[in-house]
Symmetry: C2
Subunit: 196 residues, 2 copies
């Protein structure tokens, strides 16, 4: 399928999801909105769950380039700002929150959510590879866990608590996971037990 046509289908899919929720999302509706024949869409994606998974991963609407600021701290702050924008700034936030919210309720979307997060981490991984090359990351650090802590905190604040996320939040959240919250003696004890 031509890339431009594919993007039209993905955009129609995500717009329909944001407007009507997952229950209101139908391949018929996507066909109508994108001007692409229904049978053509079914030939490429066998179900609306499969179509949504492809749209979430491949649509230009949610695409991001990994930051390259020259430091792990700067890159992680940029990633946190990007996740905050994804969850709070329309139209991307309408799509992302509707899709992730639907994944909570519809078992058939469990795989879609896993695919979405695996794809995002695959894009973010280069940030941690560069940081290891610069000697910025401790040997015991787990990049997936770091991203789960940061992205999870953004989700919890923006979606569940409905709090605004300003630039200060990114710096504080990144400092928490890079510098640690323990006072010095306690941290030293933790470091020993971690490496021992």
């Amino acid at each position: 399928m031509a890339p431009r046509k594919e993007q039209q289908i993905f955009q129609a899919t995500l717009e329909l999801l944001a407007a009507k929720g997952y229950q209101g999302l139908t391949v018929e509706g996507v066909a109508e909105r994108s001007g692409v024949n229904k049978t053509t869409i079914y030939r490429w994606w066998p179900s609306k769950a499969a179509l949504l998974a492809a749209a979430l991963v491949e649509s230009d609407l949610l695409a991001t380039d990994p930051p390259d600021t020259g430091s792990l701290r700067g890159d992680l702050e940029a990633l946190v700002r990007g996740i905050a924008a994804l969850l709070t700034r329309p139209p991307a936030s309408d799509v992302a929150v509707a899709a992730l919210g639907a994944a909570v309720h519809h078992a058939e979307l469990a795989e879609t959510a896993r695919t979405f997060f695996a794809d995002r981490f695959a894009r973010e991984e280069i940030v941690f590879e560069r940081a290891r090359g610069r000697g910025e990351l401790s040997a015991a650090a787990d990049p997936v866990l770091i991203m789960d802590l940061l992205a999870g905190a953004v989700w919890l604040r923006a979606v569940f608590r409905g709090l605004p996320l300003d630039d200060g939040f990114a710096a504080c959240a990144v400092s928490a996971v890079l510098d640690g919250a323990a006072d010095q003696p306690e941290r030293a004890a933790g470091m020993r037990s971690r490496t021992g």
Copy 2:
């Protein structure tokens, strides 16, 4: 209202939510299931959103006592295990995931979600007060942020990624936020810029 009767109403509310979702939750249904008159319920809680908010905060089903293991590390690991159980072990997880998922879709539940998280933090706060008393927490540390990072990571893994959360997860997640992921020189730089 008698505490026992109140708990019956709350339990009926949460069971109905878990079974039928927020749209299927009605005060009529709660009245039927709890054996309490509908008008009595309305006298105490003016809407189903108000009833759900009260049930989430006051029901014995979701209640937890803050841990007191003698160290901040031990207490935080216990809190993470408690949140993981809340989001993965039925029947509490059916209720918690249904309620939080509904909060994503229904604007009238935004206040309910805020109340729920504020109440949980109010119960957790003693852990951080004791840690400050023992000198375990750095002056710059933000307890709300620490809980948002930890609870957010549990939500993201358990609900969105569908990954099992074993005991190792609690130790790793707590180590990340207490000890920090930065290598030593980078961390020292971060500490200077934080306190400077």
